[in-house]
């Protein structure tokens, strides 16, 4: 696959390197330093950084503004966009706004339901869904058209991605659903956090059987766990999360003060194992409010330094 956009992430992937991405959650306030500090910690260890869009429906600084800050710092941001809060006018408009700052990556999502957040009494929009947002960005980029049919002057040049959860229900449509996202226009996929490596490998095999690995880059999602408590919480409380008992037990088996290190070790071992899986094109390391650990994970897995691409 050759790169079609100026996205650094796409160029790294197109050159055949294992890509590394990470994510930063914008602050619940307007302090620009928060995002800059997080970005500073990880910028030499990743190819691109996702900025979440009001994740779990908690009102935060907007993803677009935070992406612009990263871009001005010289990073390659991935603009996450959920279809929960904006209709097709606002989504297209924000895509153009991002493109005006040469933000070259977008991740299309539906977003958590607003009932999880701080505005549970609010409306949701869902004018289009995540697949239709993929189609929209591709239409804007490839055909230079708005949804309304008019031409766009200086169309956005965006590498278009989507999320996939290999562990969500029902399992039988996980791969058909991925195929659907690919046909809607997804060029890269960042997966849900993987703890059940066997099931992930099964999913990868099923997607390879359909040849999807040749059509889309899969970035395996990983989140190091800080404690056995976090492992148990993710297992029980987070929808669509598959944390096997072995992982919880392994975390619980070490003393509390060493659990964080154990979580990092588990993450590093998972990356080492998944590197060998055909079709895995890179890793999406989501160290939630633990960005300072990203360099260690990247170094220990031999993914540092990041390749230079022009």
């Amino acid at each position: 696959m050759t790169a079609k956009t100026p996205s650094r992430l796409e160029k790294v992937l197109a050159a055949g390197h294992l890509a590394v991405t990470s994510e930063c959650g914008p602050p619940r306030g307007s302090d620009p330093e928060v995002i800059a500090k997080k970005a500073e910690m990880i910028k030499d260890y990743v190819d691109a950084v996702n900025i979440t869009d009001n994740q779990t429906s908690m009102t935060r600084m907007c993803s677009l503004a935070a992406c612009i800050r990263l871009k001005l710092m010289g990073l390659d941001p991935v603009l996450q966009m959920v279809t929960r809060d904006r209709n097709r006018i606002a989504l297209q408009s924000d895509i153009l706004g991002a493109a005006s700052f040469d933000i070259h990556n977008v991740l299309c999502l539906s977003g958590d339901h607003q009932s999880f957040g701080d505005c549970a009494n609010g409306q949701n929009v869902h004018d289009i869904d995540s697949m239709q947002l993929l189609q929209t960005v591709r239409l804007m980029r490839d055909d230079g058209k708005f949804l309304g049919g008019d031409d766009i002057k200086r169309p956005p040049q965006m590498f278009v991605g989507a999320a996939a959860n290999p562990f969500a229900d029902p399992f039988e449509i996980r791969v058909p659903r991925l195929a659907k996202k690919v046909s809607a226009g997804a060029e890269f996929i960042q997966t849900q956090c993987i703890y059940n490596l066997d099931k992930f490998e099964l999913w990868m095999k099923m997607m390879r059987d359909r040849g999807l690995h040749e059509k889309v880059y899969i970035l395996a999602g990983l989140t190091p766990m800080k404690s056995a408590g976090m492992a148990r919480y993710m297992k029980k409380r987070v929808p669509g999360m598959d944390v096997p008992d072995e992982v919880v037990d392994r975390m619980a088996a070490v003393p509390k003060e060493q659990q964080a290190q154990e979580g990092i070790d588990i993450c590093v071992e998972a990356i080492e194992r998944l590197k060998e899986v055909e079709g895995v094109a890179g890793f999406h390391v989501m160290a939630i409010e633990w960005e300072e650990k990203v360099p260690e994970i990247v170094e220990r897995t031999g993914l540092h330094p990041r390749p230079a691409v022009d």
Binding site: D112, H113, Q132
Partner: protein, 222 residues
């Protein structure tokens, strides 16, 4: 049917307390079936209100009447002769009936006696669930007869989202994932291959988004 729920009596008391005579007006259609605003509910509410105001030492006239429907001129006309006896009307019809009564009797304050929720079904006695949001462009043919607009919390047309767990929606374990139902149904019909067809971006202009809607049938117009 249109499903509604009785408003708390206290709220109705607040609405009408300045009047001296009030008509409680029920509806024999949907709100009777969902036990929110039929003849019986009219009787219970009227009785409760009479007791409340009498106990407060108020000489308040509260009468009961139930119409066949409140969404048709011909039935609403029935109360033309009697409505002037009252200072106000509490309508136990759905929001449609309340408004149509208000439109017809412009001089009379009309108060809602129920909260109107959705178009739905009686799942079992005392349990009603939503089925349709009246988007004006039915897509049930391609979704196995199960509507993602009304049964998915995000009205996702290409679902399910990542929050679907063991057949349930992320918002509440008691809510079935609409897309799980669609997939189960497509499978039962031997049509799971249709799942991979992308649902196009929906034209919402026939939905609420397009503004107040109107259906005109010239062939049946008088």
């Amino acid at each position: 049917m249109i499903v509604a729920e009785k408003k708390p009596i206290q709220e109705i008391i607040e609405e009408i307390k300045t009047h001296d005579s009030v008509l409680i007006l029920g509806c024999n259609e949907c709100v009777t079936v969902c036990e929110a605003g039929g003849k019986k509910e009219v009787g219970v509410l009227a009785s409760a209100l009479r007791m409340y105001f009498l106990n407060k030492g108020r000489d308040m006239r509260i009468d009961e009447h139930t119409l066949e429907r409140q969404c048709d001129h011909e039935y609403l006309d029935e109360i033309r002769e009697m409505i002037d006896q009252y200072d106000g009307v509490v309508s136990l019809a759905c929001g449609v009936g309340v408004q149509f009564t208000a439109e017809k009797y412009t001089q009379k304050p009309i108060y809602p006696g129920v909260n109107t929720f959705f178009m739905g079904v009686t799942e079992s006695r005392g349990v009603w669930t939503e089925r349709c949001q009246g988007c004006g462009q039915c897509i049930l043919a391609s979704t196995g007869g199960i509507c993602p607009v009304s049964r998915c919390a995000k009205r996702i047309l290409n679902g399910p989202c990542g929050g679907s767990t063991t057949g349930n929606c992320e918002i509440n374990k008691d809510v079935a994932c609409g897309w799980q139902l669609i997939i189960d149904r497509l499978k039962a019909l031997g049509r799971l291959d249709e799942y991979e067809e992308l649902a196009p971006i929906k034209d919402w202009s026939t939905d609420r988004a397009g503004g107040p809607r109107k259906v005109v049938r010239e062939d049946v117009q008088s």
